[in-house]
Each structure stands twice: as C-alpha cells, then as structure tokens.
C-alpha cells in the first residue's frame, strides 16, 4: 500500500485491489530516485564527510542509497567527493562512461565544483569536475556537512522525478 500512498494522485486503484495504473515515466522515475546506487568516488578530505553520511548517524540508506558499489557497472550515481587532479581525469571519464544509464553526478565540495582552494597556482588540479563529465548537482562547502550531502541527494531526487523518457544524456568530451 505504501507505493500507492506515495504516488497519490498519479495512481488509480481498481475496486477490490490487485491492479495499479500509473504512467510508465512516473513509475520509472519513482523507482530510480528511491534506489540510487552510488559509485564510491572519495578522492580526498570531502570523502570523509561522504563516509560519515553513509554511516549510521546520518545513514543515507534512508534515502535509498543503499549500497555503495565498487564497480561502475552496478552504479547509477557518482558523488565526486574531493580534489580531481589531471592524473585522475582520464580514469574519472572512463568510469563515468561505464556507469549504467541514466546516470547522475553530484559534485561534492569546493574542489569538485570549481577547484576550490587549489584554483590558483596549482599544476595538478582540474578546476571543477564539470570540465570532464556532466554534473547534475553542485554542492558547495569545504567540506560540506553530511546534512549538505543529504540535501544534495534530495535535490537530485527532485530532478530525477522530472526526467523525461528515455532520459539519455550525452557524454561530454575531455576538456582541451
């Protein structure tokens, strides 16, 4: 019954139960946004806030981010938590391309959104992971608190709820 209540207004019940009518788009989005499987992508200090968000005190499993996957093929959401360096850049693109579609990216922290403290005078830092892959949610902070990451996931869920079928998005080429 929980499903029907959650989708109030978009579902119809037949008298006597047993059948549920809704739109395919709504149903798929509803399933997707409540079972995001994140790819582990902790790169530096921000990663500890991400671990903390996953640990029992904040427990992002409540939002359906149940299992951190160690392989991109089983993941559909990537939290880029930390400083992206140029040596990492080709790997991050490769992993993104291997993720199952539709796939989503949260850029967590000042480093992943813009290069942050390493914007100037750094030979190794990519100034924002959006130079490499498309980003859905930018989460500022150095580091953002776990509450911030939970909010970013909720914002991502709102965005997924508005996805159109078939929801494919292009992969951006590498930054020159």
């Amino acid at each position: 019954m929980a499903v029907v209540e959650a989708m109030a207004g978009l579902t119809e019940k037949f008298p006597g139960g047993g059948l549920l009518l809704t739109t395919a788009e709504f149903f798929l989005n509803w399933g997707r946004k409540n079972s995001l499987w994140p790819l582990t992508f902790g790169l530096s200090c921000c990663a500890f806030e991400m671990f903390s968000t996953g640990a029992p005190r904040y427990d992002w499993a409540r939002l359906g981010n149940e299992v951190l996957r160690a392989t991109p093929r089983q993941a559909d959401m990537m939290v880029v938590a930390g400083t992206v360096c140029w040596k990492m850049a080709p790997r991050i693109q490769r992993l993104y391309e291997q993720m199952a579609e539709p796939r989503y990216v949260i850029a967590m922290g000042a480093c992943a959104t813009s290069g942050g403290p390493f914007y100037y005078d750094s030979y190794g830092t990519v100034r924002g992971v959006d130079q490499l892959i498309p980003v859905d949610i930018y989460l500022p902070g150095c580091p953002p608190k776990p509450e911030g990451l939970l909010n970013a996931i909720l914002e991502l869920e709102k965005k997924i709820a508005e996805d159109r079928l078939p929801g494919r998005r292009p992969v951006k080429g590498p930054a020159a």
Partner: protein, 155 residues
C-alpha cells in the same frame, strides 16, 4: 643525553658545517651533494646513537641552487635527530643515489626527480612517481609554468 651533540657531528664528518638546532635537530650543511654518501656512512656509524633511519628526504628550490634536505633519526632513540642539507647546482641537477644506504630513499628520490628534475646516479628505477608519465616539466621549480596553471591575480 639522548640528542646528538654538535661535537659528535663535527667529529664524525669534519668537512661539513654544523649549525645549532633548527626545527629538526642540528643542521648539517654539506659543500656539495656528492659528499652525501660519505656523510651518511659516517652518521650511520655514530656512537652511541647511530643515525640509521632516513625519516624524510626532499628538496627545495632556493633560487640559485636546489637544496636536498634529509631528516635522519636514530632507531635507538628518536630524540637523536639531524637535518642534512646539500646543494645541487641548477645547471647540472644531479646527485648520487642513496638507495644503497637507505632503501626507503628509492621513492623519495623518484618524487624529487618528479618535482624538481634532479637526477640520481645509481638509482635502480628513476621514473616519475606522482605525475602522469607523459608530463613535461618539473612543477616544484620556482620557474615552472604550463598552459593549465592559473597565477593568482595580484600575487
């Protein structure tokens, strides 16, 4: 006394100039990096506390020259410690490898090579360690620049 005294250091390697304690024990300055293996051998044989652990090995760009910086401690008593400095000319940035004396120097020397371009003669496998293999230039040199690097405005 658990620290190394300046007299002990002077007696062990008279060619070096020995200065009072800095941040990490007395500072021993060598005339050239080529003296490093001999100095290390002397300090490793120091009595009663041999300086037999290489705790850190790095370099810095001092404008005119590069300076190799070694932190030595005693495995017997960590309060006995010494900073060893040796200049490397910028025109021919090379130094003898210390891998034979301290196995741990292997990766330290690769890092110094990666960041400063100082070559270590006798190193078993001198390749870049942190930067991508195809990187050009040595980023911790003061005159380093590349097309991606942004200078802080006004700095």
């Amino acid at each position: 006394m658990s620290a190394v005294t300046l007299e002990q250091l002077r007696a062990a390697f008279p060619q070096a100039s020995v200065g009072a304690a800095g941040g990490f024990g007395p500072v021993v300055t060598l005339g050239a990096a080529t003296e490093l293996p001999a100095a290390l051998a002397a300090f490793k044989a120091l009595k009663p506390l041999p300086l037999d652990v290489c705790e850190d090995y790095t370099a810095l760009d001092a404008g005119e020259v590069f300076i190799l910086v070694l932190h030595l401690v005693s495995g017997t008593d960590v309060r006995a410690r010494v900073t060893l400095k040796a200049p490397v000319p910028k025109a021919a940035p090379a130094a003898p490898s210390l891998v034979a004396q301290f196995g741990i120097a292997d990766w330290y020397e690769r890092e110094i090579f990666d960041m400063f371009g100082i070559r270590f003669h006798g190193h078993p496998d001198l390749r870049r360690i942190l930067l991508p293999e195809d990187w050009t230039g040595y980023p911790l040199r003061k005159d380093y620049t590349d097309d991606k690097l942004l200078k802080r405005p006004g700095a």
